[in-house]
Amino acid sequence: MPVTVLYADGDESGRTATAKRLSSAGLDVHEAATLDAATETIGTTAVDCVVTAYKLPDGTGLELFSTVREAAPDTPCILFTDAATSEIDTAAFEGLVAEYLPSETPNAHERLRELVDELVTRRTQVGYPLPDDEDARLAALEKYDVDDLATQETLDRLTKLASHFIDVDKVFVGVVGEHEERFVSCQGADLDPLERENTMCTHAILEPDVLVVEDAHEDDRFKHNDALDRLDIRSYVGAPLHGPDGAALGSFCLTDAEPRAFTDEEIHFVRLLADETAEQLDLRRQLQAARTGGDDR
């Protein structure tokens, strides 16, 4: 699939020329002449990268980036502009973080194409730590069908077991995808998919064994995370679901609205359930592959 770029600039001739160059380099370019039009595109189209001039007829490029960080926070943003850095007012936009490329740079179009490429392939503007093997991890994840009904029933049995033996509000199996986490079996609440930068499982999949957070408000990684507060998540224990090649697909986790400690026994139990979940998922993947004659490794 070609890389999709939203490109906003009010100057028609400049915009058309840049869009043409990007298109001829193989990118799928959506042009917008105004902030309004660009914002509309963000709402309707999945884009891999957003490029904009600083000054737009009805606002600024930073306003557009604000919308992007709300709607699809992982998306790389590039200011491609003739405005000097001193002309860019970042006062209301401190936490956005974006690339800046002067449009009068020699070979500006070539540099822009390189930059888009780098940012998209290296996932350079994500707001969370990435596993070293992220590409392999996502490739492994694609081989699993977690929404299969029989799989769902198995996972539900395991999450029910956890909620029976450990006194917490919620138990769930979370699958950490490229940009968001999906909750495929939940006890205590049905959770909608959550942006990856806001979930604790994003951090749990980096752990070799288990992530324990006794009080999110006392942990620098999570204390300012409003999404967790909205979901009444104050304490957490989660163990990564490791596939046969070691990649972590997601995690088996328990959360509570109150700060709490977890005993060694409880943590060990969660670890066992995570291993059982991972094995169930993998056996079903192998079964599916054997049925369809596909790759079962």
């Binding site: 850095t85 936009f93 800046y100 503007q125 707001g127 980096l206």
Partner: protein
């Protein structure tokens, strides 16, 4: 191989073996152990042909940072180096090498200046850029959320990886807990811990990189 060896970054006078181009290092240690000086020395050492330097000074003025850099033997040509200072009481500096951003909390502003300087060096024919970030602890202290700090660190480390650069980014373990540091460390290729012993000796230890000395080394 020999060409690769020549391209490696070398650290004269420090017990750190050369590292390959595109390496991002987290330098962790308290201020009294001379941690910042170690990070600056790593940027000062080695051959300077066709290289540039960008320092992000969130914890001090641009002028003081340039002096500290010169103090550890930094010899970069002024035309190929720049400092981003974050909120100086005296307002904009007259020094053309110093760019000023409103506050250490303005990660968007710092990022834009960083990219602008980086692109400028690139345009002038500089092939590799060394980067110093002082410090992640200051950015974390000012930031309202953690996510923008990760985003900013990915931006810097991504640039270093794609352009064969070298980055040393400072973090203070007395300001952050170990969980936070290891979470930040995930974005880096390796980590240099710096400490001062009870006897007043300075030690460092390199982790996460191949072919480095084992354990704590005196320097």
């Amino acid at each position: 191989m020999s060409q690769d060896a020549q391209r490696r970054y070398q650290f004269e006078g420090l017990p750190i073996e050369p590292v390959r181009p595109g390496t991002n290092l987290l330098v962790a240690g308290p201020p009294f152990a001379g941690t910042k000086a170690v990070a600056l020395r790593m940027l000062a050492a080695g051959g300077l042909t066709e290289e540039g330097l960008v320092l992000v000074a969130a914890d001090d003025t641009g002028t003081a940072t340039l002096e500290a850099y010169a103090g550890v033997g930094g010899t970069f040509d002024r035309a190929r180096m720049a400092v981003i200072e974050c909120g100086s009481p005296g307002g904009d500096s007259d020094d053309g090498n110093i760019r000023t951003v409103r506050s250490p909390s303005d990660l968007t502003g710092i990022g834009i200046e960083f990219s602008s300087l980086y692109e400028g060096l690139y345009t002038e024919g500089v092939e590799r850029v060394r980067i110093g970030l002082f410090s992640i602890s200051t950015l974390l202290m000012y930031a309202e959320e953690f996510q923008p700090v990760y985003r900013f660190l990915h931006t810097i480390t991504g640039r270093v990886r794609s352009a064969d650069g070298l980055a040393t980014c400072l973090i203070d373990p007395s300001a952050q807990d170990e969980q936070t540091i290891s979470s930040v460390e995930q974005t880096f290729d390796g980590r240099v811990d710096v400490r001062r012993t009870d006897d007043g000796d300075y030690r460092l230890r390199v982790r996460g990189l191949p072919d480095q000395p084992d354990g704590w080394q005196e320097f």
